[in-house]
């Protein structure tokens, strides 16, 4: 893995924040990807949402363009197929039950100082950190 340079994460973070800002001021909505994904595939009650589909299509195209022109795709995914399935199920179910993920509760909820989002973000960050610590240092590697 490449060494830490704060400019890349800061620049990427500013773009993500700009995305959330535009989505709020133009469309009046929270840029929460778990909710948009559920809406896009018709799993949030009602028909598949065009706005969710547009947002998800934009993420795919934006990521593809950035991979092509700015930063080589160099993903390190160490989880086994079983862990990928278990993790995916937990993330899908948990974000719907908890009404949001890193974007909706983290980027948008913290920005508007929502007490629900502050509790959610502290909880999933702490649980994820404990999970990684147990997997890597106590259970003998992920």
């Amino acid at each position: 893995m490449s060494s830490f340079n704060f400019l890349w994460p800061l620049a990427g973070g500013l773009l993500i924040g700009l995305s959330a800002a535009l989505y709020l001021l133009l469309n009046g909505r929270v840029a929460g990807i778990s909710g948009l994904t559920a809406s896009a595939v018709g799993l949030s009650g009602g028909r598949p949402g065009l706005l969710g589909l547009g947002f998800l299509g934009g993420i795919l195209a934006g990521a593809a363009a950035a991979f092509a022109f700015i930063r080589e795709p160099n993903l390190t995914i160490t989880a086994s197929p079983l862990l990928l399935v278990a993790g995916g199920l937990l993330v899908g179910f948990g974000t719907r039950l908890g009404s949001g993920c890193t974007s909706g509760h983290g980027v948008c909820g913290l920005a508007r100082l929502s007490p629900r989002s502050i509790v959610s973000t502290l909880t999933f960050m702490a649980v994820a950190a404990v999970t990684v610590t147990v997997m890597r240092h106590l259970a003998g590697g992920a």
Partner: protein
Amino acid sequence: MVPRLLASILSGLLFGAGLVISDMVNPARVLAFLDVTGAWDPSLAFVMGGALIPSSIAYAIKRNRTRPVFDTTFHVPTSRVIDRPLVGGAILFGLGWGLVGLCPGPAIASLATGRWEAVLFTAAMLAGMAAYRMATSRGSARAQAS
């Protein structure tokens, strides 16, 4: 509808590019942040800090507005209740996030690589969302029947 759809696509483009530029699309980078007792990588803190700058400004601007540009009203949640679904959902999400290093945004963005791991994780994530949908629709059907 067309302006709203274009605004969604534009927001998505910025979001996807931001995830790649920040390397949050890379599970190893996220896990290195969550691994607080190991070789800690602070990247995610800079991403979150950077994202909160425009996002906070936008939510401050919203306070003086009655409606967004392309819609008649804001659709921002107003609940302030800390309940069991909120905390339980965050616990399950945190567990899944820690196991793999992918949350919903990076999962979608990672599909652009065509990696089978990204496809498998995202398919399982959609199945988890479908399971929640089935559980709640069954629950509400029972509540209506009783």
